[in-house]
């Protein structure tokens, strides 16, 4: 059977060059970065090299990079660590309604710790209005976190404009760039942010490694207490192979970014044009133009996402959904709901994401596979029969 992975948003494979760069650090140069001997020297050299490459990817300085174990950790560290470090100035924080749960739930933990939280709404495209951010700011606002792009619908936010607004208030501005770093160009100085999260497994680096870029001079409370690693800001034995892999992935991403984006967006546009053309009652979610190159997200009406996923998987096609049934929490995607999409339509969410192995043939295979799948499920759907009866009866 044909196998078509179109779930690069869930995670990417590790590139051969990345794995090759990592291999020497498992069994040969396996030392601890903190050790004062040759083994430590080699590990330190490897980690510092990677630090420079990650900094280069986003226009930062090497010493502004703090390695973490995931995008989730970077976000927990940023939200909790920055808010706690500023709490003498105020206890109000602002995030958007469509943040990743690692930002959203960290913010809610801060609420339990006595902070106040404002969630800025988004429009139907998932875009945060900088004016709404401006209006949410208070004298005691110490931290604002708005994601660079949303992973589920691909909408790229107006970070520069929001940064301008936040800067005037004196609050710290963090952006979750897990969905964008390594995928679209980032220059932290140009964006005007104070802190930025990224993760390796989103751009062909290994899982289990991320980074927090923190502008020089910005204070943060450690999140992982312990040893003096990462300048005393993040404890724990450095995961040298993973960090080296992240560095290599950053280097490759920087070099190939333009070419990759061009390819991915062509595939994306082909699917975004083709799917609604081939199947009735399919809508594209997310922004029509401010959109991640590899992201094609839809809602298919009258049917549910998990069932589609399973039938697609039966055809060898791997994708994601934001339906309630696909989430362990059994709630429809908070992103789609925040965009004003009705619950029953959000249940039909499907997210295709393109990456380095994707081809035009994959898109066409999807365009071929989808109609019978949708048909089969709609034939079973009580919502669809109601819709048909209502239509026949001239209702609606």
């Amino acid at each position: 059977m044909r196998e078509v992975y179109l779930d690069y948003v869930a995670t990417t494979p590790v590139l051969p060059e990345v794995l090759e760069a990592m291999l020497p650090y498992f069994r040969d140069a396996y030392g601890n970065v903190q050790s004062l001997h040759n083994w430590g020297d080699k590990a330190r050299e490897a980690v510092e090299g990677a630090r420079g490459k990650v900094a280069d990817l986003i226009g930062g300085e090497a010493e502004e990079i703090i390695f973490t174990a995931s995008g989730t950790e970077s976000n927990n560290f940023a939200i909790k660590g920055l808010a706690m470090a500023q709490q003498s100035k105020g206890k109000h924080i602002v995030v958007s309604a469509i943040e990743h749960f690692s930002v959203l739930h960290s913010s809610r933990t801060l609420e339990k710790w006595g902070f106040e939280l404002t969630e800025v709404p988004v429009d139907k495209y998932g875009l945060v209005d900088p004016d709404k951010v401006a209006r949410s700011l208070r004298k005691d606002t110490v931290l604002v976190s708005i994601m660079h792009a949303n992973n589920e619908v691909g909408t790229i936010e107006l970070i520069k404009e929001i940064a301008n607004v936040v800067k005037q208030s004196g609050a710290i501005f963090h952006t979750d760039a897990v969905a964008t770093a390594g995928t679209i160009p980032i220059d932290v100085r140009e964006l005007g942010v104070d802190a930025l999260s990224l993760a390796g497994n989103q751009f062909y680096g290994p899982k289990g490694v991320g980074a927090l870029w923190l502008k020089k001079g910005v204070r943060i409370m450690p999140f992982l207490d312990g040893g003096v690693q990462e300048g005393g800001r993040r404890a724990g034995t450095e995961d040298v192979p993973a960090i080296v892999g992240l560095g290599k992935a950053a280097e490759l991403a920087k070099a190939e970014m333009g070419a990759r984006a061009k390819r991915f967006s062509a595939l994306r546009d082909r699917l975004i044009a083709g799917l609604p053309a081939g199947i009735e009652h399919v809508t594209v979610t997310g922004h029509p133009t401010r959109r991640l190159p590899g992201n094609a997200s839809f809602c298919v009406e009258f049917i549910e996402g998990e069932a589609m996923l399973m039938l697609l998987n039966h055809q060898g096609i791997a994708v994601s959904s934001g339906s309630a049934c696909t989430s362990r929490a059994l709630k429809a995607s908070h992103v789609l709901i925040a965009m004003g999409i009705p619950h029953e339509i959000a249940q039909g969410s499907l997210l295709f994401s393109f990456g380095l192995d994707s081809t035009v043939g994959d898109v066409d295979y999807v365009l071929e596979a989808m109609p019978p799948i949708v048909d089969k499920l709609r034939q079973m759907s009580p919502l669809y029969s109601k819709f048909l009866k209502d239509k026949k009866g001239g209702k609606k």
Partner: protein, 135 residues
Amino acid sequence: MPVYNEKVMDHFMSPRNVGEIDNADGVGEVGNPVCGDMMTFYIKVDDNHISDVKYKTFGCGAAIAVSSMVSEMAKGKTLEETKKITPALVAKELEGLPKNKYHCSNLGAQALNKAIDNYLKKQGKEGKGKKRGKK
């Protein structure tokens, strides 16, 4: 490690008895699309037995498999026997469901029950026992 076992997958891929019954003796609907799952069961009753059962289901793999299994379990049973189809029995017949999908087996049994209640209620209206001889 697939989320669903083979039996569940079989019922999901080839659901039995899908459809509607035009002049159903009883109809039961549970769930709603907001929560992600919705089922409508249709039954025909003949001489106190479920002579036909069909359903339409909006929902996940488990919801569809459960609907299919419930329809199979109900077919040909007396109403009393059918009432004894518990969520646990449905899950057992399916050889297990993931924990977070247990509620689907509840829904299936509920929908069938509602259809029977609906039938009984109609019966009551039309006069007790009247429907017995009907075909």
